[in-house]
Amino acid sequence: MKSNHDLVDHALDLLRADAPGGGPSLNPQLENRLMQRYDARSTTPRPMFARPAVIAAALLAVTGVTFATAGGIQRIKSWFVTVEVGDQTVHLRVGDNEEASMISESDDGVRTHVTVNKGATEHGDDMTKVRVVQDRDGGKNITESVMVRGHGPAGPESEYSLEDIGDAQPAKTWTDSAGLMNEIYIVPAAKGDGAQVFYVSAIDTPEMRIHRLAEPQGQWFGEGVTHDVSVTDDGVITLRAQFPDGGEEVMKLKFRSRTRIGKDEPIDEKGVRVETPDGKVKIKIEESVEGEETDPD
């Protein structure tokens, strides 16, 4: 009698023996195409800042450009964003209340989508959000960083309360190097199948704050979905959701609390730097104020 093991081997034997059309032979059309590409690659000059070998598609989406329409010289504020993916470098430019994004695909199939958003909080503080999504075999790595910097005295630090967390149990509790207790909560999103991730810092102290770190999309609360949270000493929080089909989604988050700076000091004088935990994507954002001539009419 045949065993179950044999049935699996039999199926694999059938697949191994099966080569539709007698098996592949060389493809002259493809070879010609490759040679044409090869020749084009050898003769086309490349821009200094971005080699198109890796950047398969770069998209700059800029919205909401606002400046006065009166004549004369208008000074606008913009931000230079330098994105390094592997050994490639791409420059983007983004203004206040704008978003810039780019997508690259490496030769081993990893798609990297970088989005930089310059905006303001409801308290008028400067806010920079950087999101890096790396799509790879079987899952996503998401690195999200939110930096808030403002002038003057500190205002309300958190827009969230324990009511937002409800009766959820913490997904992770830890004590940081300052001896303060912190917790991470993953709760269902208000709408849809996604989740909200809350970070509660300095628990049981007057400095306790509740921050919403991320709103991951997808079925984070479906049947058979498990969550895992880990935190490194330098504050990188890794959320891992494993799905019943074997797929997984990984988010790496780093939250930087509000920085108060002097009234007359420029914001982001030294720029903002964000790096994915694996070090493969580095982003630098620098402020630039420059003259821009506008049309007198």
Partner: protein, 198 residues
């Protein structure tokens, strides 16, 4: 269960001149053409076995070599054969294809199992083996998660060892072994019961 790691003949034949060929291919079109001719049949066969679709396989194989051409300037030869790199690119492409196709594969597999049951199929494993065709085996394979499909195909169909797969896919050998065991279990479950957990 003790996992059997008895692969067919090695897919990574020793090629003494490969390092030199890679170096020359960076600036010599004939050397790149040699690389293409040397590896295309194996890569095209792999994606054809993964998909069972000649047109999709042709597109995927073309994508692999176009990606290799783009990536060649940055490729560093570190005693990992070029074919391992090409398998990695091909696996990523085939996995994306399989991911899009999986729901349809599950529906088709369920329909095939129901049809077989209506037409007097019995549960005797000898009969089940006799009734199994290459198309059915592929349909069953396509219902698995892409990461299980890829290690099963690389090991049992292409003849790569666990270490070679780990090198190709950039993961640990333990991960490959685990995926092989789980992939076999999932394939057995499909073949035995026609279950379609997704």
């Amino acid at each position: 269960m003790e996992l059997e790691i008895a692969a067919p003949a090695s897919a990574f034949a020793e090629v003494d001149d490969e390092r030199d060929l890679v170096e020359r291919a960076r600036h010599d079109r004939r050397a790149f053409a040699d690389l293409y001719r040397r590896h295309y049949p194996a890569i095209a066969r792999y994606v054809l076995r993964r998909t069972g679709d000649a047109h999709a396989a042709e597109d995927l194989a073309a994508d692999v070599f176009l990606a290799a051409l783009r990536g060649l300037p940055r490729f560093r030869y570190r005693d990992v054969p070029v074919r391992a790199w090409l398998y990695r690119i091909a696996t990523n492409g085939a996995n994306r294809w399989a991911k899009k196709r999986r729901r349809r594969a599950i529906r088709e597999w369920s329909a095939a199992v129901e049809s077989q049951a209506r037409h007097g199929g019995d549960d005797d494993s000898t009969s089940a083996e006799a009734a199994l065709t290459g198309d059915m085996a592929r349909q069953a394979m396509l219902t698995l998660s892409p990461k299980h499909q890829s290690v099963l195909a690389l090991h049992y169909l292409e003849g790569l060892s666990v270490a070679q797969i780990a090198g190709s896919l950039g993961c640990r050998e333990g991960t490959v072994k685990s995926r092989l065991a789980r992939g076999r279990d999932a394939l057995r479950e499909r073949l035995e019961n026609g279950r379609t957990h997704s």
